[in-house]
Amino acid sequence: MATATEEKKRGALTHPDVTSFGQVNRDILKILSRPGRGWWALFAVALAGVGLFFGSWFYQIMNGVGVSGLMSPVGWGVYITTFVFWVGIAHSGTLISAILFLFRAPWRQSIYRAAEAMTVFAVMTAGLFPLIHLGRVWHGYWLIPYPNSRFLWPNFRSPLLWDVFAVTTYFTVSAVFFYLGTIPDVAAARDQATGWRRRLYQVVSMGWRGTDREWHHFGKAYIFLAAFATPLVLSVHSVVSWDFAMSIVPGWHATIFAPYFVAGAIFSGVAMVVTLIVPLRKIFKLEAYLTIRHFDAMAKLILLTSLIVLYAYLTEFFMSWYSGEEIERSMFWNRLFGDYWWASWTMLTCNGLIPLMLWFRRVRHSIPALFVITLFINIGMWFERYVIIVTSLSHEYEPFAWGMYRPSLTEMGILAGSFGWFFFWFLIFTRILPPVAIAELKEVLPAPFRGSGRGEGVS
C-alpha cells in the first residue's frame, strides 16, 4: 500500500503534463461543449444500431422465438452468448474503479470514469438479453419473487434465478457507485455551465459544495462501496458461469468455470476499455491525461488475464483427456476439429496467441497496435462464449441427439444492434458527464502549497 504522498509522486509521474488543479477543470470541462460533426456522425450510426436492435426484437416478438435459429438440441445460442459477453465487458469497469481503488493504483484515476460508465451501459445491454431470450418477454416479471395469484415462487435452487439476483444487484450497485463518483465532478461542471445544463447539473450534483463534512463522509463511504463492489464483481461472473457449470452438459460441468469466467470477463473488459479510450483520447485531445503509462498498465493487465484464460483453456482440454471420460473427450475433440472448429480456433488465436505480443514493450507502447489487438480480443471473447455454449449443446451424450445451430438474421440483427444500443448511451455520456474524473485526478496531483513552490494555484 502506498502512502498518500507516495501516491501523489507516482501520480505526477503518470501525468507529467498536468500541473495545476485549474488546468484539469479547463481541459475536461471543455469536452462538454457543443459536439462536433464527428460526434454526430457516430451518434447517427449508434442510433441506426438502436433501430436495428429494437426492430429485430420487435420482429421476434410479433413472430415468435421461432425466427431465431434456436432449435433442439441447441436451445441457447447467440442471445445467451451475447448476454455473457456484455456482462463480461462490464466487469473491468468495476475492477478499475473498485479493486484498483482499494489497491491504490495511481493510474486508475483518469480511466475509471469511462470504465465505470462502460460497466453501467454494458450491464444495461446485457440485462436485455435474457428478456429477448425468453421469447414471451411480457412474462419477464415472473422472475421476480412477489406474492402472486398463482401462489408460486421462483426456484431459488436454480442458478438461473441466482443470475437474476446477481445481475440486478450488479446493475444497481454499479450505477449507484458510478453516480456517486460523478457528484463532485458534476458540481465542477455546474460551476461553469449556463442555461439548462446548469439547472441539470445543479440537481444531479445535489448541491455539492466540497465542504469538509461532505468530503469526509464521501471518502469513507467510497471505501465501503469499493469494498462491497469488489466481492460483488467476482460473484457476478461466477454466478453466470454456474448457469453452465451446475448442469451436467459435457464441456460445462467443471469446477474451473467460476475463476475461468471471472478472468475472461476482466480480460475482455479491459480490452474494451482500451478500445473505447483510444478514440476518446484522440477526439477529445486527452493525451496529457491518458498517457502511454496508462496504456502500458492496461496492456499488462490484459496480458496477465490473457495468460490465465489461456491456462484455463489448456486445463479444460487436459482435464477432458486426463479424466478418461469418453463423452468429455469426444466433446473437446469435437470442439477443436468438429463442425465448429473455426469458432474454437478464432477463440484460441484471438485470446491466447495474439495477446502474447504484449510481452514486448514496443507493442505495449504503440497505441495503434493496442487498438488492433483489443479489437481481436473483443471478437475472440465473443467467440469464446459462443464456443462454450453452442459446441457443448450441439454435441451432448447421445449421437442421435447431436445437432447443428445456425444463427438467424434476426439474431445477428440483435447482436449487431446491441453495440448500437451500448454506444448510444456511451456517446451521450461523453457529452453530459465529464468523461475523466476531475476531482480524483486532482488527488494524485501535487496540491498548491505556498511554501514549497509546487503547483501554481488557479490561473
Partner: protein, 178 residues
Amino acid sequence: MSGTNQGILASFDYLDSAAGAIEALRKAGFGKRSITAYAPVPEHDLEHAMGYHQSPVRVFALVGALTGTATGFALAIFTSMDWPLVTGGKPIVSIPAFVVIAFELTILFGALSTVIGLFINMRLPHLRPLVIYDPEFSAGRFGVYVAAAPERIGEARRILSSMGPTELREDPEGVAHA
C-alpha cells in the same frame, strides 16, 4: 444556530494557507461547528485541521449488509417452505444454494444503506441556491468559512487575512450551515 451570527468566507490559492487558517481559528477558540472548509479534492491536511475521526457511515454499511444477509436467507427459505416442491432431489431448504441469494442481497442492501447513510451525513441534497460559495472551490481554490457572533467577527477577519486570502467576503446572515 441563531440568526444573530455573522460570517466571513475566505478563499485561498494554497492548501497550507487554508489549513493554517483553520488551525489558527480553532486555537483562537472558534468551534469546529462554526468553521466550514471548502476544497476541490479531499485533503488530509484539511481533515486533520478540522479534527475528524471516524464516520458514522460505517454503521450504515454494517447494518445494511447484515439486514441483506438475513433477508436473503429469509426470502429463499420462506418461499421454499411456502410451496414445498422437491426439485433435483435436493432438500426443500437448500442452504448452499441460498448462500448465493443471501450474498447478493448482503451486497445490495449494504451498498444502498451506505449511500443513504452518506447522504444523511453529508446533509445532501441541498438544492437551494448556494449563497456562501465560490465557483472556484470546485476548480482549484480552498475556502474557509467561519460563523461567529458580531463581537468576535473582527478577530476572525484578522486571523483569516493574516493567512493571505485571495478574497474575503462578508456574510451578514452568518449561519453555521455545514
